[in-house]
Symmetry: C2
Amino acid sequence: MEYESKADGRSDLYEQLARIGKVVVHPKRIELLDLLCQAERSVEALAEAAGLKLTTASAHLQVMRQARLVETRREGTRVFYRAAGEEVCRFVGALNDLARARLAEVDQILRSLGTDAAGTERVSRDELLARVQAGEVVVLDVRPAEEYSAGHIPGARSLPLEHLEARLCELDPDLEVVAYCRGPLCLLAPEAVSLLRGRGRRARCLEDGLPEWRQAGLPVEEGVDTDGGSSGRNEARSSLRDRRTPRSSPAVGGRS
Amino acid sequence: MEYESKADGRSDLYEQLARIGKVVVHPKRIELLDLLCQAERSVEALAEAAGLKLTTASAHLQVMRQARLVETRREGTRVFYRAAGEEVCRFVGALNDLARARLAEVDQILRSLGTDAAGTERVSRDELLARVQAGEVVVLDVRPAEEYSAGHIPGARSLPLEHLEARLCELDPDLEVVAYCRGPLCLLAPEAVSLLRGRGRRARCLEDGLPEWRQAGLPVEEGVDTDGGSSGRNEARSSLRDRRTPRSSPAVGGRS
DNA sequence: CTCATATTCCACAGAGCTATGGATAACAGA
DNA sequence: TCTGTTATCCATAGCTCTGTGGAATATGAG
């Protein structure tokens, strides 16, 4: 890989950019990065979540680390990986946006398998804020519990998709549900909505996921969901029980 | 490359994202994409600009086309490539930002070879707008002429870096110069500024290049520079002589 | 000190990517 | 139709990347 490097320097620069490109050339690495934009995780958890052998996952993570897109933290014998800063999430966001904009296949896949996921229109952030204030909706975080506790929309309830059916009774049948998940390409919320509607509930998806919410500069709450059950009312209970690594900057920032 | 595709669909999605990732894994492809975000070009011109053999450049362009990141237009025996929409430029912008934020090497390279490029502070877009209104500065587009005519800041003069020294006399010595180029990682403007300062002129770089300007929703003018010489005054002469392929959307838009 | 757990390192085989030159295709002009 | 120009296609050789299992490392508990 020596492109007649005539000590131009310019080519050195592009080689640096390619270091980052190298990370997103492999589907599994993108998947890992996506997961890490939601919450930090141990190598084992990542391997499990992405369906990889441990050594393979570790190898991928090394690649990502060499590109400085992830950082690690040791806790006992375990190593936790996390996305290295907000720019990383913004980058994968741009990648997702680009894919949705340019690749018809993406919409196709979403439509084909997402229980008509892409079909239903979504709630905008502004609308959500307004209706939450008015107490008209329940906000539901249907991602796995770890991701919820690493950061969620203030006042949202944690109800992972896999438990939704069993815990359906916890939701007030009269309130509309707004579900959100990892982002526009994630299928958790659409599936949740589909399930809820099947039970006669009113339910819609938020226009995008937590990373976008965070990047928009809106507040994010950390800690586990304390609500044992019932009710469904949830006007910004401050259930923050911060035992998490704080992400670098809270600011919004636009491409500075 | 068959990751035990258990008809999950999820993995298909990441495979689609990786199609895009594949483009930015190779330094030369990033370079080509960068060029295409400035202006459309023929294969030959691209090969020349990136220092590639024709067949190699063509092969790279095929990869980019398969990922739908570029589109083509035929004109006689020549084929012109262009970036496929604004999202593409936004994506390479995000890539650049990420590299600058996370890779210390990038700053190092910039500093080492850029004639202390990264050192001097830059003019913000807002400041530029204000001072242009007041007629206090000359805005200089130091990119190659083709890129200027494909789109430039209204009222800017085209004076490619390679001709700057020879045509120095065309610039009013009393006005400060604000030079811009392709973006934060481009060295044309810094080198121009360095040269100008060496001749005792007041000169600074714009904070970033034309793509960012365009993405900020600010107006962009097309066509060649008609100003034969002298003066240096340039209060938004409408020198638009539109014979260009218009980019898709003019809107600003923030991550839809 | 020894053992158990969680990761990383290593070597290797199979698959994929890149650059290159020569052949082919599309087009314009005579 | 013939010719020159521009770009794409094709086959190939050299190199890199990926997944894998086994070995090595780091930490914590006895």
